[in-house]
Symmetry: C2
Subunit: 417 residues, 2 copies
Amino acid sequence: MSLQQDINVMADQAVKASRSLARLTTRKKNTILEAMADELESRREIIKDANKKDIDAGKEAGLTQALLDRLLLTDERIDGMIKGIRDIVVLKDPVGQEICSWMRPNGLEIAKTRVPIGVIAIIYESRPNVTADAASLCFKTSNAVILRGGKEAIHSNRAIAAALQEGGASKGMPEHAIQLVPTTDRDAVRMLVQCVGKVDLAIPRGGEGLIQSVVEHARIPVIKHYKGVCHLFIDKDADLDMAVEITENAKCQRPGVCNAIETLLVHEKIAPEFLPKAAQRLKTRGVELRGDDHARELVPDMKTVTEEDWYTEYLDLILSVRVVKDVQEAVDHINHYGSHHSDAIVTEDEAARKIFTQAVDSSTVYVNASTRFTDGGEFGMGAEIGISTDKLHARGPMGLEELTTYKYVVSGTGQVR
Amino acid sequence: MSLQQDINVMADQAVKASRSLARLTTRKKNTILEAMADELESRREIIKDANKKDIDAGKEAGLTQALLDRLLLTDERIDGMIKGIRDIVVLKDPVGQEICSWMRPNGLEIAKTRVPIGVIAIIYESRPNVTADAASLCFKTSNAVILRGGKEAIHSNRAIAAALQEGGASKGMPEHAIQLVPTTDRDAVRMLVQCVGKVDLAIPRGGEGLIQSVVEHARIPVIKHYKGVCHLFIDKDADLDMAVEITENAKCQRPGVCNAIETLLVHEKIAPEFLPKAAQRLKTRGVELRGDDHARELVPDMKTVTEEDWYTEYLDLILSVRVVKDVQEAVDHINHYGSHHSDAIVTEDEAARKIFTQAVDSSTVYVNASTRFTDGGEFGMGAEIGISTDKLHARGPMGLEELTTYKYVVSGTGQVR
């Protein structure tokens, strides 16, 4: 069979599986998830052996240390996958929930009801743990999933997927509920995201290049988990100590993640007092500051920021700094240069708060808190499949509920029009 | 300027307008909508003159009578546009509504809040009234809209858009809130749906060809309002009289619309009693029946149905008929051949009802009612921009709420992680 035929067959199988999945009870799904976790546990050595093949091949291919680290499955990381599945067992199943319902004057009862999306393709890069995380989230929400991981992790992904499939099958998981694209051929991704009418949604998880390539080829809906160029704006009426704490936390607590800030915007009225304090604190954490002219007047040992810096997700201990004349200029900067992810204001002023929260066009807007809370766990959703920077269907942390859609169930007593 | 530059400028202007729109109060928006309606009223003759140009050009170009009829703006249709806008004035504004909110153990307050989508492109065909309907729905929800109508309606669309723009401007509508692509160049559509990061959503309204072309070119989200191959399934435990009434209504009350049925599925146990009765009733309404072998045994004067019939949206007094062995076979037929729009079961049996409503993968599933109720007005939403056959973001009738998305507004007292 050609690759195209293989992908079509996988998509058809997934559609068929999705029909059975839609009718599983929550109890049954949880039993199956437990079996998946158990099977990962009992295949721990097999998975580590498979991972060793990937690591050896990666070393041979000259992968960077950072990439090899992402690829590596330690016992701790396998424990993490297993715990991840068990955590999903206890989360509330959104499928079947009634979102709202009402009765029409003619007696028709309309119930807007949560249902699975159907078939979801997850396209990701080198971390093999995504295989287990994505598969279990999709399964819990009764979606069939087609997984396409990075080629460098193929042995690990196959071993993990086999554990999930066979563990699940032992407790009656519908066949083809979880499928892994077996080939590393890049064309498979394109074909997958062109399965109109079969694959309902593609979620690419990875760097800009991967996401852009998926968007370029997709003829089906895509939800993007794009970069986080997050901002913190210190308003003129900010509590100074709070502003310094939040700045430090939002930049330094974990600089390599998408909800860490990359740019600090400071109201010109508070900048002379705030910036030197903040700079001093950030210096103790080893942060490199890159400021505009005004900021550099106040903190002379900053580097000079460039236009490109404003667009950059450093994922590192670097922070660009701009002094703005008011909240509106801060909002304009964020909407222009930002990535619609997470942005925060520190202020005690109600008017500034209102302007900022209304006008900043991002998935999550904070008042007097660190941007680092944009996360399924921190939001209280439990596990997440990622953080959407898109506006349609799901925005911000995507948990179980965001892996569902709805249908209207309308009940009558013979009504006609 | 090149066409590409023109489209980029329009998109940039729309983004800028969307920022102002997001901050308008409901009261202000309603005043502007009233002014649009008034301006349409006072430009009635100008609009009819413009329409005459389109009609004359259409006749010259040899458009069919059906197309010319869709193009025609009578006084009654202009009244309809004006009333449509006034109806939208009284609808509740979803923007700013709190969908839900909760507090985290660390004291963070998370509010999931409705916000406009941003910039919406509406791509439609020959009916010029869509210009007013779509523009006013988008405006009420604080979205900037870029309208692209059919080339045969260009004069009418320009006249209507000018009335809306100038009427709105007289009451302070942000500039470029409503834009009409001034050219009829087909490339404009492609460019519009590739404005990544500027245009947030495309909604094509029209025939299969238009929708497929938009999907093919789009690099932004598209919500499709696709054909309606709707089904009615008469279960073995149906109330016979109700089943006949619903069959007649769902097929005949307005056969040319997407929520009329195209296929009748009948349980084999009730078919001998039901089908002759239904056929007799449908005959009085001039419906042509096309049946499978089993159906034709029971009603011999039916034509023979073909495989292609099952996929066909007749939009006419034609109905294909199949006898099935149980509810599962009906469900399988619907999921295979249907268009995920509206499908109904007539039954008194709780088990069949449950299987059908759970397993039929359509935007709206009916029990003991006609499919003809899938409509914003009938659902009590007021005006609608269409009926989505997609699963993501919005499914079924799309009213004002479906023209919004959400953001999280998180309020703290200095929380850090």
